[in-house]
């Protein structure tokens, strides 16, 4: 290409393209130029696509890793629940109310809500039961106007829903012969906008427009209450044309962590607990599967090689309140019962042994070691119960990795001559021992597994069925498992949700499995579309996609990728910061001379090992760490740029990190301690909570550090701590990003008032 300047044509309008007669270097040159530009642009777009991919990976990895953390937290709760009824000796508290409800006679009678007075000043919808179309229209209008439904109506709605659901079987069978087409929607996760968009595009639920909603109505999004109220309202209005499947987030323990519980408590300060109680019952009463024309199976998660629809139909589904409460029988796995029975009668103990030895041994364990222990104990528990479980290759038992080593129970000392019998366990709690009765007989593990598999599993490409270690529950099921199940029950298609997909839907297993996801922009504005499926009598699924957007101007791929990437990288940096000490240890192993540098490969290795996130670290490196002039990584630079607002006063970095890493857990636990949600807890309660927490996590904290911490915070003269501000002090202060549901929930959380 010799000419650097273009040849001007004589006239403006003429474009000399393919006119061979003209002697100017038009056509060939033009073509060459075009090819060059196309190459360049395509490459640019490809790089964008690459960034989008790994951004996606980051979000997914962190999300699933979060769910694994949830497992650990819930095992803590389960342990607390199974062994203690009181946390601080003040009588039955929120933990026991929330986590282990005795059947409250009030909640099964109509009196519970009818006693609640609705003030004249209330301008929201006033529902009358049985519901009519005007009620659901009123709800739609009210929620569009950001109104909240009064607690009385919420309770009444839930009570009526509970009554209705009790009559339903575990598996609902639908037929297309009476209707035009059935619409199937996936995860909504509290996104009211998406639900309204679906109703707008596809029509409101009615006899002509039947719907199946495939679980995960709540958590993460900010309008879970509104979403689920609407769904239940339509369920009551059209019980034959509205069908709801249970998802893994219709589970009170998941709700504790992922936002639904908090949302309810914030919107319903007086009656929140009762409402949550009813939700718990209602969630566990939701059917777990829907079958259309005996050919299409719809479940939230997936299946396992143990899934049996006949068995699934027969079990009492409401007994599985939460997938995360492992069956009580597996306490045996924790060696409490076993050790009592197997070991000698008298344990050599003294009163101070349990707590002091416990905290002492914790000092030596690092996070990594603890994780390895987790791995081991999981295997142990699987092995020990393999005989009790059916001979299955896929074990989806969720065991408690931590508790075996956290507790060292003593049996009640008895005379050596009397045959050993256990009536009571002496279990250490905080500084003393408490007597607790043995846990009650176990819930049926196989039944529990059927439900957990159906709610938590994910498809995989390879054949076979393996435990879903990523999520901590359910299985990964291969195309052969799908094939077998479909064949066994005469089905032709499995529709499931549970995983976010960029296009809102995805096919796999040769088209025999469809994933449908209905929350658009799930990770970030522009991250993905939502979709729903319509099937008619011919049972051929058709897909409809959409995307809720805040701006009318169409975002370019560049803008969307940039936004999502920024969000993902922030989340990733948080992770790095939260694991700072371990990472530094890892780096220093490669940097014995304290140069502050390691090679890129070594850097990537350390990150992979510590964070256990399967990400393209080398590709991400430029966003996370600086290079020295010689091309090696200055690893300290990983922890920079965390923004202003991290005061690390008289506290050890370990403590700050721990707080940061487990801040969600801390919030949950604090919320439970702070029963009246006033935002204030006493110093005493704070200390106890912290000790409890650190005992569970195996973090060594001595009392003086805790007290120093407490003192460094401004607290009222009466000795209360506003832990909202306390957490603020240790949290990285991000720019207020209202699009990020996780951050904004915490950031915009005002005082409970």
């Amino acid at each position: 290409m010799g000419c650097g300047t273009s040849v001007a044509t004589e006239t403006q309008g003429k474009r000399v393209e393919r006119d061979e007669a003209v002697q100017t270097p038009g056509p060939a040159l033009t073509m060459k130029a075009a090819v060059l530009i196309q190459r360049w642009y395509r490459r640019y777009m490809a790089r964008l696509e690459m960034r989008r991919r790994y951004t996606w990976n980051i979000f997914q990895s962190i999300e699933y890793a979060g769910e694994q953390d949830q497992l650990q937290l819930s095992s803590f709760f389960s342990f607390m629940l199974d062994n203690f009824t009181q946390l601080n000796g003040n009588g039955p508290d929120l933990i026991s109310q929330l986590l282990d409800p005795v059947v409250d006679p009030w909640l099964d009678r109509e009196i519970c809500y009818s006693l609640i007075l609705v003030p004249e000043s209330y301008s929201g919808p006033r529902l009358s039961f049985p519901l009519s179309v005007s009620d659901t229209n009123a709800l739609l209008a009210a929620f569009k106007e950001q109104q909240t439904l009064h607690a009385r109506y919420v309770l009444q709605l839930l009570y009526e829903t509970k009554k209705l659901l009790k009559q339903m079987p575990n598996i609902i069978h639908l037929s297309t012969s009476y209707t035009k087409e059935i619409t199937i929607c996936g995860d909504l996760h509290g996104r009211l906008d998406d639900l309204l968009l679906i109703f707008y595009k596809n029509g409101l639920p009615s006899a002509e427009t039947p719907y199946v909603f495939n679980g995960d109505f709540v958590d993460r999004g900010k309008k879970s209450v509104e979403v689920v109220i609407l769904l239940f309202a339509y369920l009551l209005l059209y019980p034959d044309n509205m069908h709801l499947n249970r998802g893994n987030h219709e589970d009170y323990i998941m709700n504790l962590r992922y936002g639904f519980t908090k949302e309810v408590m914030q919107k319903y300060k007086t009656h929140g607990q009762e409402i949550l109680q009813l939700f718990q019952d209602v969630f566990s009463l939701l059917p777990v599967a829907t079958v259309i024309d005996g050919k299409i199976l719809i479940v939230h998660g997936g299946i396992s090689d143990q899934t049996n629809l006949d068995f699934l139909s027969s079990i009492e589904r409401h007994k599985v309140k939460s997938a995360l409460r492992f069956p009580k029988r597996s306490l045996e796995q924790l060696d409490i019962g076993q050790s009592c029975r197997l070991t000698k009668r008298l344990r050599l103990t003294d009163g101070s042994r349990p707590s002091s030895s416990r905290s002492h041994s914790k000092n030596q364990r690092t996070q990594n070691q603890r994780k390895r222990r987790c791995g081991l104990s999981r295997q142990d528990s699987v092995a020990s119960t393999s005989s009790s479980l059916s001979s299955s290759s896929s074990s989806s038992s969720l065991c408690s990795p931590r508790t075996p080593s956290c507790i060292s129970p003593r049996p009640c000392p008895s005379s050596p001559s009397i045959p050993y019998s256990i009536n009571v366990l002496q279990v250490p709690f905080l500084d003393s021992l408490t007597s607790v009765p043995l846990p009650s007989p176990p819930q049926n593990e196989q039944e529990w597994k059927q439900i957990v598999d159906v709610l938590w599993s994910d498809p995989k490409i390879q054949e076979g069925c393996s435990p879903n270690t990523f999520r901590g529950g359910g299985c990964y099921f291969g195309p052969d498992v799908t094939q077998r199940l479909l064949l066994q029950h005469g089905l032709q298609l499995l529709i499931r949700s549970h995983e976010c997909k960029q296009e809102g839907y995805e096919l796999c297993h040769g088209g025999q499995v469809i994933t449908i996801f209905s929350a658009s922009n799930y990770y970030e504005e522009g991250s993905n579309r939502g979709a729903y499926i319509k099937v008619g009598r011919e049972l051929v699924p058709r897909f409809y996609q959409y995307q809720v957007s805040r701006t009318t101007r169409k975002l370019t791929l560049t803008q969307r990728v940039r936004a999502a990437e920024g969000s993902a990288l922030r989340a990733l940096k948080e992770k790095l910061f939260a694991h700072r000490s371990e990472l530094m240890c890892g780096f220093q192993e490669y940097d014995q001379n304290y140069t502050g540098r390691v090679s890129v490969s070594e850097w990537a290795l350390v990150l992979e090992a510590v964070l256990r996130l399967d990400l393209p670290w080398r590709t991400l490196r430029p966003h996370l760490a600086r290079l020295a002039p010689d091309g090696s990584v200055e690893y300290q630079s990983c922890f920079e740029d965390m923004g202003p607002g991290i005061p690390l006063p008289q506290v050890t970095s370990n403590l700050a990190e721990t707080l940061f890493r487990y801040r969600t857990d801390i919030e949950i636990i604090f919320n439970i301690i702070d029963k009246d949600h006033s935002g204030l807890i006493s110093i005493e309660e704070f200390r106890h909570t912290w000790r409890l927490f650190s005992a569970h996590l195996g973090v060594a904290i001595d009392d003086s550090a805790i007290d120093d911490l407490a003192r460094s915070i401004d607290f009222n003269k009466d000795g209360s701590i506003d832990f909202t501000e306390f957490l603020e002090a240790f949290r990285v202060v991000h720019k207020l990003d209202s699009k990020d549901p996780h951050l904004s929930e915490k950031m915009s959380r005002k005082k409970y008032s």
């Binding site: 130029a33 075009a34 196309q38 777009m45 490969s601 430029p622």
Partner: protein, 163 residues
């Protein structure tokens, strides 16, 4: 690739392999060392290369497992290593790109009208699909004047943080 300058050829080779594997794995959804053939272009581009469509077709023909639609890492790795070590599809220098735009800008306006660019991109060379065209126009056009100031665009899109 600054780090490779100070290292032996062996380390350099292993670094190259690692880069290729990392890019490959991003698209290896099933974790079985295969990717869909349609993603190969993206992978190659992300490794710093600027093949044309024709180049891509040739490359794919070499490494695809007889029209299965999949490409296995075993074949991709050596082929791609060769490409990288031989700098087979070098980047387009900015000034060359500028000249290319200027060729298309026959009236020497300093910008291109969307219709002009569309015509060239969809009718000449290795034509864009309608989707590609729309994305390009949305991305590159100046919002107020709705024309493409190609000089600015070249500088904007040339920012390459890594590789």
């Amino acid at each position: 690739m600054a780090e490779s300058n100070n290292q032996s050829a062996e380390t350099k080779l292993s670094d190259v392999h690692k880069r290729i594997k990392a890019a490959f794995e991003t698209f290896d959804n099933a974790a079985n060392n295969t990717v869909d053939v349609r993603e190969i272009g993206t992978i190659i581009y992300s490794l710093g290369c600027f093949p044309s469509q024709a180049d891509l077709h040739d490359f794919i023909a070499e490494v695809e497992e007889d029209h299965s639609g999949y490409i296995h890492l075993d074949r991709f790795l050596p082929a791609m290593t060769k490409v990288l070590l031989e700098h087979k599809f070098p980047p387009i220098p900015k000034d060359l790109l500028l000249q290319a735009f200027e060729v298309l800008d026959k009236d020497n306006k300093g910008y291109l009208e969307p219709e002009e660019l569309t015509k060239y991109m969809t009718q000449e060379g290795e034509p864009f699909t309608q989707e590609e065209m729309e994305e390009m126009l949305t991305g590159l056009a100046d919002h107020e004047r709705n024309v493409i100031y190609y000089k600015d665009v070249i500088n904007q899109l040339a920012i390459d943080p890594d590789m």
